[in-house]
Structure formats: structure tokens, C-alpha cells
Amino acid sequence: MRSLYISFISEFYKSRKTLAFWAAVIVPLIICGLIAFGYYTSSEKILKYNYAGMMLWFRYSSAALGVMGMLILPFYVMFMAFSVNNIEHKNDTWKTLFSQPLNKFSIYAAKYLYATMLLLICILLFALLTYSTGYLLQALVPKYTFNDYNPAIILTKFYSKLFLASLGILSLQFILSLVWSDFLKPMGIGFVGTIMGIITANVGWKYAYLIPYSAPTLALRMTAASKGARPEDLPIFTQEVWVSLTYGLVLFIAGYFILAKKNIK
């Protein structure tokens, strides 16, 4: 446990000055900032639709969730899984890392946990920023109806689903970046996978849920379909979330065995 903890702290220490770490903060800031800015500057156009509180929140949050779930999130996950491993590939430090008196599994698990934490920070910030900028807009443009509905539960559910649905991609990309030191292979596979995921999810292919890359899109699409029901009843653990979690767990364990068998060059 101690090795896991110190490896984790060391991961933070190593990457705190890198883009991988700051992207977790900057990406939500930029995206939510841009959307809020758009809602502020074109408030008159939006006010014409006369959305009720809930609908306004739905429109507002899906602007972020839409881009996020479909494109940015998968690519962010790929980039992050790559960076966490690339820091060792680039500096040729795998050999030093594994010649420390630390349990091999701890080193591996700490890296994975660190990537998961970055993802969590990113998603948490998205949720918090969506929530807080909504109320900020309300204060700036009093005619908005953000005050009429409290989106806390529904936002939490949306983003929790998104987080869980991306763990499958994370584990897969983590292994790819662990095995290959170059940028193109994991990115190329991830890119093709994401496009495939989006297409299969959107055409409603029967087995789309089996592709980890389609999980985030599916998680959100199901949400849109169940619009009629009470949004607070939205289930978090839907089929694609379970599939993503299973992929996540199985590939996480597989990744360790790949690493343990790998000779450190």
C-alpha cells in the first residue's frame, strides 16, 4: 500500500508541470467558458425560445456534454494515457523506475490510478463549471430561467455515466501506450476506434455496446432517448457502463501481466 501511495505521489510530482496534468484543468475551463460566453453574448436569441428551467439547463449542459462525450473525452483519455506512460518512454526511465525497491504492481497501478484521477478531475470540473456558470449566467442575464430548476442530480448522473463509460477506453489506451513508445500507434488506433464507436453507436448497431469506444456516446444517447421519463430517474449503471467497467478491469489486469512479462530495455 505504501509503495502504491508513494508511486502515486511521485506520478503527481513528475507530471505537475506537464500539459497532461494541466489539460485536465484547462480543457473544461476553455469549453465551459466558451459555451457560457456564447450564452451570454447571444442571450437574446436564446431567450426567444422561451425555454423552461429544465429545458434551458438541458440545452445548456448538452452543449458541453455533446462535444465532450463524443470527441473531446475519448481524445483526452488517449492523450492522457499516452502522456502518463510517455514520460517514462521519452526519458528512458522505465529501467530506473523498475530498479527501485518498489513493488512492480504498485508502480503500474499508481500510473493507472493517476490517469483515472486526471480523468476524474477533468469530468468533475466540467460538471462544476457547467453548474456554476449556469447560475453565473442567471445573475448576468436575469431573464434566463436557470433558477427554476436545480440540475445538481441530473448533472451528477450525466457526468458519472460519462466517467464510468470512459474507463474501458482508458484501460485500452493505457496498454497501447505502455507497449508502444511512439505517439502514432496508440493515437491512430484510438482515432479509428473513436470514429467507429461514434458511427456504430449512432446507427444503433446491435453490438455497438461491445466496442469500448462507443460507450460514452451510448451513455449519452440513451440519456437523450429517455428524455420523456423523469430525468432524475436516469439509471447510471446501464449496459454500456457495465461493459466499459468490465473492459476497464480486465484490461487493467491484463496490462499488468504485459508489463510484468516485458523485459525492460
Binding site: 505504501r2 508513494i6 508511486s7 505521489i9 511521485s10 510530482y13 513528475k14 508541470k17 506537464t18 514520460i87 521519452k90 526519458n91 528512458d92 526511465t93 529501467k95 530506473t96 523498475f98 530498479s99 527501485q100 525497491p101 518498489l102 513493488n103 523485459n263 525492460i264
Partner: protein
């Protein structure tokens, strides 16, 4: 408790079908500076990686302080500091941060960082990004990283690579100090014998994965005993005279004959003897094979 810091017993290692290490039996006594010599590609780095458990060794072939490495990985590694190939340093972190990170990983007091930086003469460059260091500075940072945990056993793979003469002397003195004052065991690999000669107490010479010589530095010196080279016109007559005189003839080629050296007076006597018997002595002199040639001789044999 084993008297050896490192012991390998009939160690074999191969990458695919290529044999890299063959029946290697290293014995590195505690407190020694063990010069691990061999030409490039002889298997030195592979051996060091095996000793660090980066490459998996067969069971019961590698022992660190008497303990089998695969079953005592963490205990063994906690006694070792290492510098393998070019130093592995995080380029985006400063020298100081690199050391601090290592302190974090090893649970060491961060106060050691400044001490290490001054030990390797990097105090002034402490806050400079390590990626911008010169090769020599990187090497010194690598050495600081390997020393920070105050390990009993140091594995240094060509530590003076890329250092200027001053830097080489510093590292050499540092190694001697670590071994004599702090009783560390140091295994240092090199492809240059001259570099090792002045520091090592023990030497192992490896080529094509095989250990060709292992022993103390004096034992290595003994291999290079001086010989007397005599050039004369009548080689067979000379041979006859010399064997009556009791000289040990080592080899003969054309007009030259080599005998073992006893002392100066003996060389004089031999000269007189040959001349008195009517032979023309073109030249007579003492030859000493320096260690560099000896090294080349040893490594070119297999």
C-alpha cells in the same frame, strides 16, 4: 552470510536465439571495486540489467548479498544504487526535482538533495532543467541519483562516459572514497582498462557473454610478466645455449626468441654467453605487455 555482494552461478541469458550471457559466474567480494571490463556489446549492460532484475534471470543463478534475486527482489534492490547506460533523467524537471522525486519514491529525507547536488558539483545548476544539461552533467546527476539512497552496492555502467578528464578523475576519486571510507561495494563497467586499472581492486573481463578472466588486479598484473626479447643470427644455436643456461624459452619467431625475465644481471649474462659462443646479438631487451594489450589479448582469444 555470503562474502560476496554479487554472485552469479552459471548464468545464461539469451534474447531469442542470440546468446548474450553464457555460463557467467561473477563473484564480487564485499567492499571491492570490481571493474567489469569488456568491449562494446560484450554483455556488460545485459548483465547489469539482470543484476537489477530488469531482465529476468533463471532461478538460483543470481545472488545479491547471498539472497536469490527473483525471490528477494525488493530487499535486493533496496541495497543497490544503479546507473545503467545513459542516465535516465526526467528532462522536464530540474536536477533538484529529479533528486526530490527519487527521495519521494524511496522515502528519503529531502535534505539529502542538496548534499548530493554538491557532492557531484551540480549545486549551481540545481534549478536548471535536466534536459538542458550537458552529457557530463547528466552523468553526474545520474550518479547522484544512484547514491542518494546510500546503497551498500553500486552498479555503475560506464559512469565516466562523456565526462571530461577532470570529471573522470572526480568520479574515480569518489569511487575510491566510497569504497574505502564508506565500505561500499562498487561494480563499475567499462570498455577501457586504463580507466579501471587505477581504481579497481578486482577485475572481471567479459567478451561475447563469457567471463574470460576474474581475479584481483594483482592477479591480472601477474599475467603480464616481463619477458626478454632477443634477436640473433643463429636461432637454433641460441636456443641450445639458452636451455643449457636454464632459461625458460617462451616462443621463437624467425630471428627472435622470447624468454622469461629473471633480473637485469641475468639478461647481461645471457648476452655475454651468446656473444662468447660466437653468435651475433642484434638486439636484446625487456618487454612488458601493458594491461591494455593484455586486455586485447584476452578478449581476442574467444
Amino acid at each position: 552470510m555470503s562474502q560476496f555482494a554479487i554472485e552469479t552461478v552459471g548464468l545464461n541469458y539469451h534474447f531469442g536465439s542470440q546468446v548474450v550471457v553464457k555460463d557467467l559466474s561473477l563473484q564480487v567480494p564485499k567492499g571491492s571495486i570490481y571493474g567489469f571490463l569488456g568491449p562494446n556489446g560484450a554483455g556488460k549492460t545485459t548483465t547489469i540489467k539482470i543484476l537489477l532484475n530488469l531482465l529476468k534471470s533463471p532461478a538460483d543463478t543470481v545472488f545479491i548479498f547471498g539472497k536469490e534475486i527473483n525471490s528477494h527482489r525488493i530487499a535486493s534492490l533496496s541495497k543497490m544504487g544503479s546507473l545503467v547506460e545513459q542516465p535516465a533523467i526526467y528532462g522536464h524537471l530540474s536536477g533538484k526535482e529529479n533528486l526530490t522525486n527519487r527521495c519521494l519514491l524511496l522515502g528519503i529525507n529531502k535534505g539529502k538533495v542538496a548534499e548530493m547536488l554538491s557532492l557531484v558539483g551540480l549545486s549551481e545548476a540545481a534549478n536548471k532543467k535536466a534536459g538542458k544539461y550537458s552529457l557530463g552533467m547528466k552523468q553526474r546527476l545520474g550518479i547522484a541519483l544512484s547514491l542518494i539512497s546510500d546503497p551498500e552496492l553500486l552498479l555503475l555502467d560506464e559512469p565516466t562516459n562523456g565526462l571530461d578528464p577532470n570529471g573522470i578523475i572526480e568520479i574515480r576519486n569518489l569511487m575510491i572514497e566510497l569504497a574505502t571510507k564508506h565500505h561500499k561495494t562498487i561494480l563499475v563497467s567499462s570498455h577501457l582498462l586504463a580507466e579501471i586499472e587505477r581504481t579497481a581492486t578486482h577485475v572481471g573481463i567479459i567478451n561475447k557473454g563469457q567471463l574470460l578472466f576474474q581475479g584481483t588486479i594483482n592477479e591480472l598484473h601477474d599475467l603480464s610478466k616481463p619477458i626478454v626479447k632477443i634477436e640473433t643470427d643463429k636461432i637454433e644455436a641460441a636456443q641450445h645455449i639458452l636451455s643449457i643456461h636454464g632459461a625458460e624459452i617462451l616462443k621463437e619467431t624467425g630471428h627472435t626468441i622470447y624468454i622469461s625475465y629473471k633480473n637485469k644481471a641475468d639478461v647481461g649474462q645471457i648476452n655475454t654467453l651468446l656473444v662468447q659462443n660466437g653468435l651475433t646479438v642484434y638486439s636484446i631487451g625487456i618487454e612488458r605487455k601493458d594491461l591494455e594489450h593484455l586486455f586485447l589479448d584476452i578478449t581476442s582469444k574467444n
